[in-house]
Structure formats: structure tokens, C-alpha cells
């Protein structure tokens, strides 16, 4: 089966949608002391980290969200698994409102938690340094009361084997393992309760390329074997190519382009997506200077008017400075850009 066939193997219909974000938004207040505010007469300041984000992920597929630091991708990941509370909108797993369920009766909340798990960026910070590896991997199973303590060693060994860590000493501590091994341990912990939905927040960005290749391949294998539905967060468009079925590009809290992987890489629509692709270093060597990229991500405390990307956009005109573009469908692709809509591209 070719890549393209696999990407479109399962058509997105309502029946297969497991994960959904509906108009998700998260605003953080900056807590300036009230005396300072009084003296300087400042209004309370707010950062809109995630702004009106909607998407669906069909069962067994992977959606990757890509963007520069500060674009709100990690906040979005945390909202999807209920680690943070949205200020607008809601996250859904299999027609269950994540936030409402976690706030509700304990049993229902625990049942929902079993079904969604997360892998974090830093394998040095996300594993408790005082716990033995065996205890770390067994913890979700015991917490969920899926096994008895006596059954733990066998299950832990099986889980570690499934992430390529056969025969390691489970009485060792995280610091006795390398970064790649630690990220495998994080993965073993995440798949312990057989979740349906896995969120990976930059799982390989702290790893070396050769180790990154091992972990990415493992992730793809696990996803296929277990029919996991994945949300994969990354700042690296190239990495996403190897794991995602669909790709969303985020800029300053909003999704600006959402497309099947093949489409996005073959024909990027949004000027920001094009800029990100042009900025990818080319191994075919020097001579090709990377397209000069204009400016940096603006301060989220004072976002630009209209389209947030307009100060860096070569195609910006008066309308872009005033009116914020909505995410519009164009075939299988959704883009939020006036230039694309008007055919100025």
C-alpha cells in the first residue's frame, strides 16, 4: 500500500470521528499586582493562547499540529486531555465532553482518563527521578485498578518489550537510562492502560537524530498495531511528514491551514506554511540559501490586527491588516487567508 493510499484509507465520516475540538479557546490572565495596576492605570493584560480552534480526528489517524514556539500548540494538547480548562469551547472524545466528565463523578472521570494518555517533550522531567522504572510503568494500571499488584511485573515486562526495551532491569531509576530509552519508558507508561487517544507533545525534540528516528518509527508501529488515534505536536514540519495523516499549521493561537499530509507538502496554500517549508534546511548542501524569513513571531500580548500573520506576510494588503480571515474549506484543504481566497497567490 502506498503512502497516499494509507492516508486516505479511512474516509472521515461522523461515525469514525473519535476526537473533536469545538471552538476551543484558552486565555491566560497576567497577574500584575493590583497596586502596580492602580499606580500605572494599566488594564488587566491577557494572552489568548488558543483561539477558536476546531478540528476532528478520525479513529486510528494521526493529526499533527505544527507551529513556532508560543503559538499555543502545547496549550491545545493539554486542553485535549483535560490537563487544562478551556475558557471557550470544548474537547470531545467519542462523544464525551472531556472537561465536563473530568469535573463530574469520580468513576466516570477515571474511566475517561484510562482512554486518553499523553507523552511529554522532556523525558528527563516527565519521569519521577525517585521512582523505579517498574513502578512508573505500573502506576497507571494500578491507579485504574486494571491489575492486582502481583500481576504488575509481568505486565510491565510485556509493555517494556513492546517499546523495544526487552530485559531491562525494572528496579533501575530513570537517570540510569539514556534520553531515547527514557522516551520509550514514557511511551510504555502512556500505552499501559490501552488508551484510544494518545497526545504526543514534541516527543522527539530533545533527542538526537538517530534516536529520534528510532522513537518515531516505534510511535508509528504502535499507532498501527493498536489503532491509536493520535494528536502529535511538533515545531518541526519535516518530522511530521513521517508520522501524520493530517497536518494543521498554527500561528498565534489559531489554525491557519489544515490539510491531508500529501496535500500540505505537495501544495502548501497559506503563506506561513510556505515560509515554514522554505525555512527547512536542505541537506543537498550549500548554494541554496534558505529563503530569507521575515521577522519573528509577534508578542502575543499585543497581537497584530486583522490577520495575525500580516506583518510577516509578503502578500499582505489593506484587507489583511483589518479583517481576520476565517478558516475556509477549499477541497480537502482548509485555509485561513485572504490572499488564497482572492486568488492573489
Amino acid at each position: 500500500m502506498t503512502t497516499a493510499e494509507r492516508a486516505f484509507e479511512r474516509p472521515v465520516t461522523d461515525a469514525t470521528v473519535v476526537v473533536e475540538a469545538r471552538g476551543l479557546g484558552r486565555t491566560f490572565g497576567l497577574h500584575t499586582p493590583w497596586t502596580t495596576r492602580l499606580v500605572h492605570r494599566n488594564a488587566p493584560r491577557r494572552i489568548v493562547a488558543v483561539d477558536d480552534v476546531s478540528f476532528t480526528i478520525a479513529r486510528g489517524r494521526t493529526l499533527a499540529l505544527v507551529g513556532e514556539s508560543g503559538c499555543g500548540k502545547s496549550t491545545l494538547a493539554r486542553l485535549m486531555v483535560g490537563l487544562d480548562v478551556p475558557t471557550h469551547g470544548s474537547a470531545w472524545l467519542d462523544r464525551v465532553d472531556v472537561q465536563a466528565t473530568l469535573a463530574g463523578p469520580v468513576d466516570a472521570a477515571r474511566a475517561l482518563r484510562r482512554r486518553m494518555q499523553m507523552v511529554f517533550q522532556d523525558p528527563y522531567a516527565s519521569l519521577n527521578p525517585r521512582w523505579r522504572v517498574g513502578d512508573i510503568v505500573a502506576e497507571p494500571l494500578l491507579e485504574q485498578r486494571l491489575i492486582l499488584p502481583a500481576q504488575a511485573p509481568a505486565r510491565v515486562a510485556a509493555l517494556l518489550a513492546s517499546v523495544g526495551l526487552d530485559g531491562i532491569d525494572t528496579r533501575q531509576f530513570p537517570h540510569q537510562f539514556s534520553g531515547g530509552q527514557r522516551q520509550r519508558i514514557s511511551l510504555a507508561r502512556a500505552i499501559a492502560t490501552s488508551p484510544e487517544f494518545l497526545v504526543c507533545d514534541e516527543p522527539t525534540s530533545s533527542l538526537d537524530v538517530s534516536v529520534q528516528a528510532q522513537v518515531l518509527n516505534l510511535l508509528v508501529d504502535l499507532q498501527r498495531e493498536r489503532a491509536l488515534t493520535c494528536l502529535f505536536i511538533s515545531h518541526n514540519l519535516v518530522v511530521v511528514r513521517y508520522v501524520a495523516h493530517d497536518v494543521g499549521v498554527m500561528y498565534l493561537g489559531r489554525i491557519v491551514e489544515l490539510a491531508p499530509r500529501e496535500e500540505l507538502f505537495a501544495a502548501p496554500r497559506h503563506p506561513y506554511t510556505r515560509m515554514l517549508l522554505a525555512a527547512v534546511p536542505d541537506l543537498k548542501g550549500r548554494g541554496r540559501e534558505r529563503a530569507p524569513v521575515l521577522g519573528e513571531v509577534p508578542d502575543p500580548l499585543s497581537p497584530p490586527s486583522g490577520c495575525a500573520f500580516h506583518p510577516r506576510c509578503p502578500l499582505a494588503n489593506e484587507r489583511c491588516r483589518v479583517e481576520r480571515p476565517a478558516l475556509r474549506s477549499a477541497g480537502v484543504v482548509r485555509v485561513a487567508c485572504h490572499a488564497v481566497e482572492e486568488g492573489r497567490l
Partner: protein, 327 residues
Amino acid sequence: MSGPLLEVRDLCVEFPTRHGPLRALDGVSFDIAPGEILGVVGESGAGKSLTGAAVIGLLEPPGRVCRGQVLLEGSRIDDLPREAMRRLQGRRIGAIFQDPLTSLDPLYTVGHQLVETLRAHFALGTSQAREQAVELLRQTGIPAPEARLAQYPHEFSGGMRQRVVIALALAAKPALVIADEPTTALDVAVQAQILQLLRGVTQARGAAVMLITHDMGVVAETCDRVAVMYAGRVVEIGPVDEVLQRPAHPYTVGLMASVPSLHDARDRLAQIPGALPRLGEIPAGCAFHPRCPKASPRCREERPELALVRRTRAACWWPMVEGFAAP
């Protein structure tokens, strides 16, 4: 001046432990010519940063250089007394580190730090130093440099901060610049800007640069030559296009194949089995042999030295010689 600006000869670094010394760098040799950028790549723990620190005399004790020489413009600098070395650092050697926020003092304005640096190295009045500071910021592409002088590091974005760090490193017009992962903390878009800047300003001044990175893409578009390190040794060194397109050492081949690419026909990344050995457990013979697809009995016993393969030099008994197509 003819000949290399920096010569590193058979450099070894050891860390004493209770169980005897651990050798972290073992016989590292390379040259950098004036105006040349040498990339040093390898996985974390391969000894890249340690090489940089040893060259500029910033090894953290208890690590120590136990053998070898470092020559800057023909004279040894590895055995200089502390005070002489300190004068050399900053004046003849500039350093740029990964995290711009920790390289700048948060309590002083950017202007203060630049003026201070300039006056430490040159006999300048405050106003002259200020003018030069403005000029430095302008050269590193910071808009409105006069206004920026009065600002503190936290008022700069990540990319702008790294520009300030580059301006500081170049303030004393050093002959050698050591850049240790200068763009790792930055977004790809900003990374491209900073690399172009680094290349531009160092070439304009004819400074030699040692660029330490784990990112092959950074090497591909910035460096003239590249040294690949594995387990404390240089396993391959040569011109960038040769090493990246037609690598001779199996480790470089594996490393190149595991780099994700936009124009990759494959659906899956190639991976090198296993992991970098720990310092105390470096295998005998060729350190890469347990992970190498071409390992032979000879590789397990005898350690290969760097030898010419086409236009690159590789430390391997069975280098990729002919008919190898880069991934």
C-alpha cells in the same frame, strides 16, 4: 597569513574518577583556516562541546587536558597561565552558546554590556564605545540600534537576543569564534536568519569558526568542512558536500539516513540500532563496531585511524568506497 588559524593536535581530555580516569576525548585533531567554518557534529555525549571547551580553555574541573596541543596562529595556547588565557578569551577568541538568555546579564542593559566589553579590550572613551556598540548591533541586523541599547535582555525576543550575543562575541574582533549550538533554542525560521548572519559577519572579518551542532541541516548550509564525532573521537572529516552526499564512515551513513527530509521517497526513517556507548564502556577496537553493519573481527580488535577516502578522511577499516548512493 598562510596556514591554519587553529590547529588541534591529538587532544585528549580525562575525568578522574574513583575507578580510574575516564577518557572523554581521545586523540582529536583538526585544523581551521582563516575565514573557514568547520562544523562539528555528533550525538549528545560524543564530545563535541567538550572539544570546544578544551580548545578555548573553559574545561570544567575535574576535566583536564591530558595530552595534545592547541595552537592559535601558530603558538600554543593550551599551556598558557590562567591570566594570559583569560586575556586571550574574548580578545582573540569569541564564544556563542546555545541559550542567549544565560549568556547575557539580566540586570544590565544590552548597551552597558556591549560598552563594558568593548572598553575591556580597547582603550576607548564611553562615547566612542557607545558608537561602536551601535555599529555592532546594526551589523547584526537589529533594527533601531540606538534605542535598543537602553533595553534589558528580557525586552528582546529569542532571535534578537542571539543577535546581541553574536555582537558581544564579535566585539573584540576575535580571530576564532566557537559557536556551541547557537541556533538550537530558536525556531527554524529565525534559525535561518541567525546562521546567515553568523556566516556573513565572520566571513567579512576573515574569522575562523568552529560551529558545534547536532543538526545536519545547519551544517549543510553553513559550514565549509565538517568533523563527525563518535565516542570522543573524530570518525570522519572532510568537505561538507563530500561528507554529507557521499559519506565514507558507516556511522556518518547511518546518521545521514536518519535525518528526516522533505524530499524523501521513503515512508519510514532509517535507524541505527543501539545507542552511543557510555564513557566507561567504550568498546575495544572501533568504538562503533557493535552498531555497525560492516563490522569484522578486525574492527573488534584494532582501532582504525583517519585515512583518506576520496576527498574525506574516515577512521574505518571498511569505508564506503564506490557506488554508494546517498539517501
